[in-house]
């Protein structure tokens, strides 16, 4: 005999106490009010972006690199550097040009755009000039990050061949790029963090303090930050393969280098680094021997793959030496 009742009193009491009509009216009101408020808020956000009251970090960086590309179009460039912030925070192009006697252009985006961003930037660069050599420089854990569809949508030039995107990823990436409300998010979270050009009392100075803490952490980081080969996401190879195919079709010498990273990673993640190298080479891009560039803690800036500004020249030379197959001595 089943003792439970299908109409227990607590279930009955859980029913709505209100009449139907006011709720239907409320629902209808919400039906037009919610989209209206949404459009108004995104409009405010768009105006804030338009008039530089707020800035999308990835958009601002992308636009800056577009301007650099346009400026370099007339003179051309022999070597094109593509990659993430580990490249941007390491490469000193005047030093590179002095060593090689050739012109170079560095179009680093952020880690958020990934290999997909490289493809878009390479396609854009090829619209204005065909370099002799392309060097992709990424942080060591990039193969663990999968595909950045945001990076693909952000950078793909008009007319370039499309890459099939899963519908849900397309929706999320579009929404992220189109309604990425930096100003609104700052307001909602109560404290502005993305506003530019203003001295807000709550803005942080993490850039400096992060480095101090990183230096203070010492050898224990090696334990915490170790990377495992199993973390590599095979799907991420898609855009590397497309880059390799494009380089082959254009007859360009394209290579891949892992950028600077704290030396603890080099010591504790050897298996991962070997697997990451195989991952890139499997896509058809040769990996520069001797990379990643292993960096002692005192040369690091705010993260374990950003070089402090005073050492950029040294690591630019180091990358050059690796590309030429030479060892670099510390100074």
């Amino acid at each position: 005999m089943v003792r439970s009742s299908t109409t227990s009193s607590d279930l009955a009491s859980a029913g709505p106490a209100r009449e139907r009509a006011p709720l239907v009216r409320f629902g209808l009101r919400l039906l037009w009010l919610a989209p209206l408020v949404f459009v108004l808020l995104t409009g405010v956000n768009a105006l804030a972006l338009r008039f530089d009251i707020a800035a999308l970090p990835e958009l601002a960086n992308f636009h800056q690199q577009q301007r650099k590309l346009a400026a370099a179009a007339d003179g051309g460039f022999d070597t094109l550097f593509l990659g993430d912030s580990s490249l941007g925070r390491m490469m000193d192009t005047p030093t590179w040009e002095r060593i090689t006697g050739e012109r170079s252009l560095q179009l680093a985006l952020t880690g958020g755009e990934g290999f997909a961003g490289d493809l878009g930037m390479l396609q854009r660069a090829l619209l204005v000039h065909r370099p002799k050599r392309v060097v992709l420089v990424h942080t060591s854990d990039m193969p663990t990050r999968g595909i950045s569809w945001n990076g693909y949508l952000l950078t793909r030039p008009a007319g370039a061949a499309r890459v099939a995107m899963p519908p849900d990823r397309l929706l999320e990436a579009l929404a992220d790029l189109l309604i990425n409300g930096q100003l609104l998010r700052a307001i909602v979270r109560g404290l502005p963090y993305s506003l530019t050009g203003r001295d807000w009392p709550f803005l942080d100075d993490s850039h400096v303090r992060g480095r101090e803490r990183l230096l203070g952490a010492g050898p224990a980081i090696a334990q915490a930050e170790a990377l495992a080969p199993s973390a590599i996401k095979a799907e991420g190879r898609l855009f590397l393969e497309k880059i390799a195919a494009l380089c082959a079709a254009e007859g360009i010498d394209c290579r891949f280098a892992f950028g600077p990273v704290w030396e603890g990673i080099c010591a504790n993640s050897a298996d991962y680094l070997a697997a990451a190298r195989a991952f890139v080479e499997g896509a058809g891009l040769p990996v520069v021997a001797g990379t990643p560039l292993c960096v002692p803690a005192q040369d690091l800036d705010d993260t374990i793959d950003h070089v402090v500004q005073g050492r950029m020249v040294f690591y630019t030379k180091a990358l050059h030496d690796r590309l030429e197959g030479q060892a670099t001595t510390r100074n």
Binding site: V2, R3, S4, S5, T6, T7, S8, D10, L11, S13, A14, G15, P16, A17, R18, R20, L23, V24, F26, G27, L30, L33, A34, V37, F38, L41, T42, N45, D168, L171, E172, A175, D176, I179, L184, R185, V188, R189, G190, L191, Y193, P201, F202, L203, D204, S206, R209, G210, E212, R213, L214, G216, A217, P219, A220, I221, Q223, A224, E225, S230
Partner: protein
């Protein structure tokens, strides 16, 4: 698929609700609704990884079959089927959730190294396992029966509660499936949207917003750095608020989603930081898990009827297992042990303490502080990180604050934490807000709303009314949340 994603909110949910409405109006009726919601729920689950769908289907099939066998048996035979069913469930949970942990522990103790392929934890396995164990026990106790396999499968997989609860009884949910009167469809949808919007805002705006602050401290401590005392407390408090609003938001969204389909789920989260004792905290935090642990673990062990000391032992064991249920790791063991000891101390205080009680706000502040301290191992990467942070919280850290707070200065962090504490202590919870329109489905012995006299009078003015002001407020919450969607992660409880 996460509730707080564009795919769920803008595509999945509208399609499922429209299909539900069309089928409910058609001649296929209840069976069609059951099948539709079941397929939608399996899609929802499989979107995370299709490879785990056969696992949940196997679990459902075995439990339904065992349920039928228990129903058709009596005495020792029924008890045997029950034991086999529970052994199957615990075996499945044990393998997928604890095998990696056990192997790692044996390796570290013995120094040996096994050729072990890491087992991937299927999302929601802890919840659907507990729900089915409760179902088998309920059948054995003749408090439930389900002969229709499709309805049983829906009971387990119903997407609003599949991944992170509430852990519902069969008798609470299934009688409501397909029984929504036609005239209630739109009002239930509207009420569901309101509750969902409140939960979405808690998750996207507050929980995801504060997460970088706790991450900064816990991640740096995991790297071996010792934060200052202020930083360590700020990190622990920030995580306390992150998990509070994350789980509160999830629970609201689950209740709101179920309401859209005419189903009332039990209130699972009732302002736990307003609790004035640890015992009361557990009557307000994850209420359906507390009820499960009480009914299926604590009471069968003898509960409080076996003498004072054995009662305390039962409490500690129950909370220890509750901790392990949350995650396979020593940090969760420590968290469960801490709560077991705190509840025991609270019971002992009630039994033996003759002095005056703390005033309400003092007791509330003390409970909040103890819960915050206990959150440290829950969030920390390992025990070393936990003790590093405990050391820092007790003044053993450096005097200079050096954590790289993302986005905020130290003053901004403390201002934000103070605002969130005021939010948690002073504002009514969603069940209280919605009470004028929906009587909350509470659990006997677990208060979902403030007792009369403890709630501040002015908060009563925040009750929901289908007015223009409320429409504007919900439209704002929805819009702001949608703008923020995509920048946070999954719910914390999804990993359990």
């Amino acid at each position: 698929m996460v509730f707080s994603s564009y795919l769920f909110i803008l595509v999945f949910l509208p399609i499922v609700w429209l299909g539900y409405c069309l089928l409910a109006r058609s001649r296929v009726g209840s069976f069609g609704v059951t099948l539709w919601l079941l397929l939608a729920s399996l899609f929802f689950y499989g979107h995370w990884s299709w490879r785990v769908v056969p696992l949940i289907l196997l679990s459902i099939a075995v439990n339904w079959l065992v349920g039928r066998l228990i129903e058709g048996s009596t005495g020792r035979r029924a008890r045997l089927w029950l034991a086999l069913g529970i052994a199957f469930d615990l075996g499945l949970l044990g393998y997928f959730k604890y095998a990696n942990f056990l192997v790692a522990t044996v390796e570290s103790v013995s120094g040996a190294s096994f050729a072990w392929q890491t087992v991937v934890l299927p999302i929601g396995i802890s919840f659907f396992t507990f729900q089915q164990i409760a179902y088998l026990v309920d059948i054995y106790r003749q408090e439930a029966v389900e002969r229709d396999p499709w309805r049983y499968a829906l009971f387990v997989t119903f997407f609003p509660q599949l991944i992170a609860g509430p852990i519902v009884h069969h008798r609470e949910m299934m009688p409501q499936i397909g029984r929504q009167p036609r005239e209630r469809r739109v009002p239930d949808l509207v009420l569901g949207i309101v509750i969902f919007a409140i939960g979405l805002a808690k998750k996207v705006i507050i929980a995801d917003g504060i997460a970088p602050i706790s991450d900064a401290v816990f991640d740096l401590a995991a790297m071996g750095a010792v934060p200052s005392t202020g930083e360590a407390w700020a990190g622990a408090l920030a995580f306390g608020f992150q998990i509070y609003f994350d789980f509160s938001g999830y629970s609201d969204m689950a209740v709101g989603l179920a309401r859209m389909f005419g189903i009332a789920l039990r209130v699972n989260f009732a302002s736990p930081y307003k609790a004035s004792s640890i015992i009361e905290f557990w009557q307000r935090w994850h209420i359906t898990l507390s009820r499960f642990l009480r009914d299926y673990l604590y009471i069968p062990m003898g509960g409080g009827r076996v003498g004072e000391w054995r009662r305390y032992r039962n409490i500690v064991v129950t909370m220890l297992l509750g901790g392990i249920w949350h995650g396979a790791g020593w940090t969760f063991v420590l968290w469960g042990l801490l709560h077991g000891l705190l509840i025991t101390a609270d019971h002992a205080r009630r039994r033996f303490w003759c002095g005056p009680d703390l005033p309400l706000w003092g007791a509330r502040a003390l409970t909040f502080a103890l819960v915050t301290i206990a959150w440290v191992p829950f969030r920390a990467a390992d025990l070393a990180t936990t003790f590093r942070l405990y050391g820092a919280m007790t003044g053993m850290g450096p005097s200079v604050e050096a954590t790289a707070w993302p986005f905020y200065s130290p003053a901004g962090v403390w201002l934000l934490l103070a605002a969130l504490l005021a939010f948690a202590w002073l504002l009514p919870n969603t069940a209280e807000i919605m009470k004028p329109a929906v009587a909350p489905l509470t659990t006997p012995g677990y208060p979902a709303v403030e007792p009369v006299g403890r709630a501040a009078g002015w908060t009563m003015g925040l009750g929901f009314h289908p007015s223009g002001g409320w429409a504007l407020a919900i439209a704002l919450l929805l819009s702001l949340s949608l703008i923020g969607v995509g920048n946070g992660g999954a719910f914390i409880y999804y990993q359990f």
